[in-house]
């Protein structure tokens, strides 16, 4: 009974290295095969990190697994897609006053052991957003040739459009501070959000850094991107990238 409140007990305030209130956002759509392990890994990597699972109307037992893990779960009333689900997570972070939000896929391809590396630039206030990058010497991540081509293409286009230098623009392993949380809670791209949200963040003047991380193959389930549909995705992403440059954006977050 009392345990519930002791877990929530506040740490002594006024300590020098105050830890920023951080939230891990785990979007999950039919991830029953990997979700339990992902959550356990986050817990063991960083026990103080709060976790919210955004269940994008899964049809398998994702909801039960998330509920049993004792984390906060937000159930969307119908499937809204990864962009809408992520945005829900950022809205949760905004509404609950979190200072840092980290997004970690529910499919297990992001290694929770890399969390400190990802969080470091944010907590030192060197960046507003840090992106976990697959290619930076760490590990032996092998992308399919098609995906690799897509990544190179996107990073080239993004670099040309907003002078944003990112080697792995399709990475969904990211951390943002309060500025990023407020931006993404209000405005987040829909279908293939990673690439476009980087451009969005850059256009709003967020400081972005890349952090080399180890990534794994998916623990279970299938990637939402298959080779045949890949070309179609590339065209859609390119289109949205170009549009994002000409788009009118709502007023910036509290404009520093």
């Amino acid at each position: 009974m009392a345990q519930h409140s002791t877990a929530e007990a506040r740490r002594p305030s006024g300590t020098q290295t105050r830890r920023l209130r951080s939230l891990a956002i785990v979007p999950a759509y039919n991830e029953e095969g990997s979700l339990a392990q992902v959550l356990a890994e986050i817990r063991s990597a960083d026990p103080e990190l709060e976790i919210v699972v955004i269940n994008d109307h899964s049809t398998d037992s994702t909801a039960e697994i998330a509920g049993a893990a004792g984390v906060s779960v937000v159930h969307l009333p119908f499937n809204v897609g990864i962009g809408g689900a992520m945005q829900t997570g950022y809205q949760y972070a905004r509404d609950h006053g979190f200072e840092v939000a980290i997004q970690i896929d529910g499919d297990g391809q992001h290694d929770a052991a890399e969390l400190p590396a990802l969080l470091d630039p944010i907590s030192r206030d060197d960046a507003d957003m840090s992106i976990g990058t697959r290619f930076a010497g760490v590990g032996a991540y092998k992308a399919t040739p098609g995906r690799r081509m897509g990544m190179v293409l996107f990073s080239t286009v993004a670099r040309m459009l907003v002078k944003l230098k990112i080697t792995d623009p399709t990475s969904g392993f990211r951390a943002v501070n309060r500025r990023g949380i407020e931006l993404f809670a209000r405005d987040y791209p829909h279908d293939f959000p990673e690439v476009e949200s980087n451009v969005l963040a850059a256009r709003h003047g967020l400081r972005i850094v890349e952090v080399p991380v180890l990534m794994r193959e998916r623990a279970a389930g299938r990637s939402s991107v298959t080779t045949i549909r890949g070309t179609y995705f590339v065209i859609r992403i390119l289109l949205s990238l170009f549009i994002s440059v000409f788009r009118r954006y709502p007023k910036t977050v509290e404009d520093r």
Binding site: A2, V74, H75, L76, G84, Q87, T88, Y92
Partner: protein, 122 residues
């Protein structure tokens, strides 16, 4: 020259269209803001069906040999406009729908967590 029968048929069709639109608005099955484009469509078609000289002039101006074709072109153009208008309406609805779903999910979550927090006190 425009065959008289074409003009009569077009006028009747445009008049019927206008009547149906007005009736839909009157019975509140169509909101005015969505009906505006339709009303304009019907009015323009009726205008050119009745005033045959204007249709002749317009088709002459853009180089259409057979003036009744100009009526078709106008009708097609307005249909495109209406469809485009629908796309914007659907986009807006989809955005609102998403926002509602997100708000609902977050409120549900908050409600559940607050209920959980209060339980141990009992």
């Amino acid at each position: 020259m425009i065959p008289l029968r074409v003009s009569i048929a077009a006028a009747i069709a445009a008049g019927l269209l206008l009547l149906v639109i007005v009736e839909l608005i009157r019975s509140r099955r169509l909101q005015e803001r969505y009906a505006l484009l339709w009303l304009l469509t019907g009015a323009v078609l009726l205008f050119f069906a009745l005033w045959r000289g204007a249709l002749m002039k317009v088709s002459d101006l853009v180089g259409i040999q057979y003036p009744p074709s100009a009526l078709f072109v106008m009708a097609a153009f307005f249909i495109l406009l209406v469809l485009l208008h629908y796309s914007t309406v659907i986009s807006e609805l989809a955005a609102k729908n998403l926002a509602l779903a997100q708000r609902l999910a977050l409120l549900e979550n908050r409600l559940r967590e607050e209920a959980l927090e209060q339980e141990p006190e009992r």
